[in-house]
C-alpha cells in the first residue's frame, strides 16, 4: 500500500513566494493553527529538531514533565478539564513506549489527545536502530487513528485531520510519528488534504424516537443509566431537562458522575462493583433501562446476564459499534446524544410507586459518617474526610484521583455538580494517573481549585511530577491517603484469597511529607481525626502546591463490593 498521505492529498500547492520551512516548523505552526496553547512533553534525540524550533513559537507553552507517562496523563487531565484536545510530545524508542499507558488510558476513556512522537530517520526505520521502536504498530489497538509522516508537505493537512479525528464523534487518541529527517527536511510545498468523508447520522431515526417514547410511557419501573458519553456529547443540560420532564430516577457509571448533581433528588448514585445499594437494587428491578452514553462495562454490570434482568433497553450512543455489543437492545438512538436527549418527550412517567421505592432506599442507605468515624477514632475515616473536604472546597473544585480504594471513596463520597469536577482513570484504571492529570487540569483550568486524591501505592508511580509542580508553581492540592498497603489488592486478598496478603505490604514507604518537601512542595501529615479539620483548612488555604499526607487504617475497606462474576444484587458489606 502507499503512504497515508498519497490517498488523502488532493494536489500539491507550491508556494513560491515563501521561504522554505522545515517539517518541525510546519508541525508547530500547524499546532498553533489548531488552537493548541499547551504542550506536555519531554525532549530526546529523535524529536530534537522540533524542540530546536519550539522556542521561536511564543504561542505554544511547553510544560516539561519529568516522565513521558506524566506528559501523556497531564495532557489527558488538561483535555478533560477544558473540553479541548490535549497535546503531548515524546521522543522515539523509550520516550514513545513510555507514552503508551497514557495513550491506552485516553483510548479507554475516550479522551481527545494528539500524541506526537519523534522517530529515527526514515532510512533507518526497520533496521533496529538506536531508540527505534515501531510505535505506530505498537499502538494500533489503542489509538483512534495514527500516522507516520513521510513528507513534510503533508504536515499541515495531517495535523488538521488529526485534531479533527481526535475530537469528532466518540473522542480518542491520535498518534503522529515524525521521523527525524522529515522534521529536518525543508519544503515550500503544502499538500492539500480533503476533509474526511465519513458521514455519520446526526441523531436517531424519528420512528425510533417515537418507539423509545412509547417504551418510556409504558414502563412501570424506568431508570436512566448514564455514562461518560453525556459529558463528551455535551448533553448534560439536555439530560437534566429530560430527567426533570420525565421524573425518572437516575444511576451513573464512574465516568458519568457529575452529569447529575450528586445531591439531586432523582439521583441514586453510582452503580456497579462499588456502587451504592439504592442504585444497584434499582438496576436489578427496573423494567426499562434508558442507557445514555454508557457501554455496559463489566465493572458497571457485574455478571452480564444477570444485569437488569427484567428490563427492556433503550440505548443512546454516538458510537453505533457499542449498540448490541454486550446487551441486545429494544431501541437504539445513534448520533448526537445531545440531540437525542432533547428530542425525547414522553411526558412525566407514571411510576409513583417505583419512585417512592427508589427514593426511599436512597434515604434508607444514607451513609453514617459520624458512626463510622466514631468506630475508627482516633484514626481517620477516609470517606468522611473526603466527604467533608468536597463540601468545604468551593463548588467549582475539580477532583482528580489515582486508582484503588481512594478512587472508589472519591466516587462514593465526594460531591460533583458537573462532569468536569471528576477526572479519574475509569477504563484503564491507571495507577499514577492522579498527580499528572491534576497538574494538567490545573493548567487547563487555572481559575478552579484542583484537588488530587491519591494513595501511597499510586503516588509512587508518578511522584516525579512533584518536580513539575514546583518548576511551574502549579497550585495543585494533593491529599495522599496512606494506609501503607496496596489497599484494593489487599482488600481482594482479604475477601477472596483467604487473607493471603501477597506483596501488598508497603510499610516501608518513605515519609511522604519529607519527600514532598525535598521537591520544595509544602507538606504536612495528619495522623488522627482531631487533626483533620485543621488539615483541610491548611490544604484549601495554601496558595501554592501543597500535599496533605493522611495516615489511615489499612483494614478500612471499600463497601459495598460486588464479587467478580456475580450479580450486582450480591453486594457484600462491611
Amino acid at each position: 500500500m502507499t503512504t497515508a498521505t498519497q490517498f488523502e492529498k488532493q494536489a500539491t500547492e507550491k508556494i513560491a513566494d515563501r521561504p522554505p520551512k522545515s517539517g518541525s516548523q510546519l508541525l508547530l505552526e500547524s499546532l498553533v493553527d489548531q488552537g493548541v496553547e499547551t504542550i506536555f512533553g519531554y525532549p530526546g534525540g529523535a524529536i530534537m529538531p522540533v524542540y530546536d524550533v519550539l522556542p521561536s513559537i511564543p504561542e505554544l507553552r511547553h510544560i516539561l514533565c519529568r516522565h513521558e507517562q506524566g506528559c501523556g496523563m497531564a495532557a489527558i487531565g488538561y483535555a478533560r478539564a477544558t473540553g479541548r484536545t490535549g497535546t503531548a510530545f515524546a521522543t522515539s524508542g523509550p520516550g514513545a513506549t513510555n507514552l503508551i499507558t497514557a495513550i491506552a488510558d485516553a483510548y479507554l476513556d475516550s479522551v481527545p489527545v494528539v500524541f506526537i512522537t519523534g522517530q529515527v530517520p526514515t532510512n533507518l526505520m526497520g533496521t533496529d536502530a538506536f531508540q527505534e521502536v515501531d510505535i505506530f504498530g505498537m499502538t494500533l489497538p489503542v489509538v483512534k487513528h495514527s500516522y507516520i509522516v513521510r513528507d513534510p508537505a503533508d504536515i499541515p493537512g495531517m495535523v488538521a485531520e488529526a485534531y479533527f479525528i481526535a475530537a469528532e464523534g466518540r473522542p480518542g487518541p491520535v498518534l503522529i510519528d515524525l521521523p527525524k529527517d522529515v522534521a529536518n527536511a525543508m519544503t515550500t510545498e503544502r499538500h492539500k488534504w480533503r476533509p474526511y468523508p465519513k458521514v455519520k447520522p446526526e441523531m436517531g431515526q424519528s420512528d425510533y424516537i417515537s418507539k423509545a417514547e412509547e417504551l418510556m410511557r409504558e414502563a412501570k419501573k424506568p431508570l436512566f443509566y448514564i455514562g461518560g458519553g453525556i459529558a463528551q456529547g455535551d448533553g448534560v443540560a439536555e439530560l437534566r431537562d429530560l430527567v426533570e420532564r420525565t421524573d425518572i430516577p437516575v444511576v451513573s457509571t464512574l465516568k458519568g458522575l457529575g452529569a447529575m448533581p450528586s445531591d439531586h433528588p432523582k439521583f441514586l448514585g453510582m452503580l456497579g462493583m462499588h456502587g451504592l445499594k439504592a442504585a444497584n437494587y434499582a438496576v436489578q428491578e427496573c423494567d426499562l433501562l434508558i442507557v445514555a452514553g454508557a457501554r455496559f462495562d463489566d465493572r458497571a454490570t457485574g455478571k452480564l446476564d444477570t444485569f437488569a434482568p427484567h428490563a427492556k433497553v433503550i440505548h443512546m450512543d454516538i458510537d453505533i459499534a457499542e449498540i448490541n455489543k454486550l446487551r441486545q437492545v429494544d431501541v437504539y438512538l445513534d448520533g448526537s446524544l445531545k440531540k437525542n436527549l432533547a428530542a425525547l418527550n414522553p411526558g412525566r412517567s407514571e411510576c409513583d410507586d417505583w419512585r417512592a421505592l427508589c427514593y426511599g432506599r436512597r434515604e434508607e442507605y444514607v451513609w453514617d459518617y459520624e458512626g463510622a468515624q466514631a468506630k475508627a477514632s482516633p484514626g481517620v475515616y477516609a470517606p468522611k474526610l473526603l466527604h467533608d473536604l468536597s463540601r468545604r472546597a468551593d463548588d467549582s473544585a475539580i477532583f482528580t484521583c489515582d486508582v484503588g480504594q481512594h478512587q472508589m471513596w472519591v466516587a462514593q463520597h465526594c460531591y460533583f455538580d458537573e462532569p468536569k469536577d471528576h477526572i479519574t482513570s475509569g477504563g484503564l484504571g491507571t495507577m499514577g494517573f492522579g498527580l499528572p492529570a491534576g497538574l494538567g487540569a490545573k493548567l487547563g483550568a487555572p481559575e478552579r481549585t484542583v484537588i488530587t486524591v491519591s494513595g501511597d501505592g499510586s503516588i509512587m508511580m508518578n511522584i516525579q511530577e512533584l518536580a513539575t509542580l514546583y518548576r511551574y508553581g502549579i497550585p495543585l492540592k494533593i491529599v495522599l491517603l496512606d494506609n501503607s498497603v496496596l489497599g484494593m489488592v489487599r482488600q481482594w486478598q482479604e475477601v477472596f484469597f483467604d487473607k493471603n496478603y501477597s506483596e501488598t505490604n508497603l510499610d516501608d514507604n518513605p515519609d511522604f511529607a519529607l519527600v514532598a518537601k525535598a521537591f520544595q512542595i509544602d507538606a504536612f501529615t495528619v495522623n488522627t481525626v482531631d487533626e483533620v479539620d485543621a488539615g483541610i483548612d491548611r490544604l484549601l488555604n495554601t496558595d501554592g502546591p501543597v500535599l496533605m499526607h493522611v495516615k489511615i487504617d489499612p483494614n478500612e475497606n471499600v463497601w459495598p463490593l460486588v464479587p467478580p462474576g456475580r450479580s450486582n444484587a450480591d453486594m457484600m458489606e462491611r
Binding site: 497515508a4 489497538p141 483512534k144 474526511y196 455478571k303 446476564d305
Partner: protein, 100 residues
Amino acid sequence: MTQLQRDKTFEPSGVQGKLKIVLHDVSGTLIRALGTIERRGYDYRDVHCTQRVDGDFDLLVHIEDTGGPSNLDTLCKQLERLYNVVSAEKVGRRKRAERA
C-alpha cells in the same frame, strides 16, 4: 490437562462467517482491519485481498469465533469505525462449525 475457568457467557459459539471489507489504499489500514478482527475474538480461516481499479482494496476474510462477546454485526461496525475502512459487511451464509 489444564482446565480454564471460563465465563460461559462468552464461550466460543463456533460461528463462522465471511466478511467483505473495502479499504482505502492508505498505509496501516490493512493491518488495522486484520488486527481488529483478531482482537475482537475471531480466528482466520482464509484471507484474500485484491486491489480494485479505483485503487481501493477488497479484503475478503473467512473467520471463526474464538469466544468473546462479539457478533459479526458488531464486528462490522467496529471495522467501519476505523478510518480508511470504507465498508464492512457479511457475505454468504453463516453456519455452525463442526465440532470435533
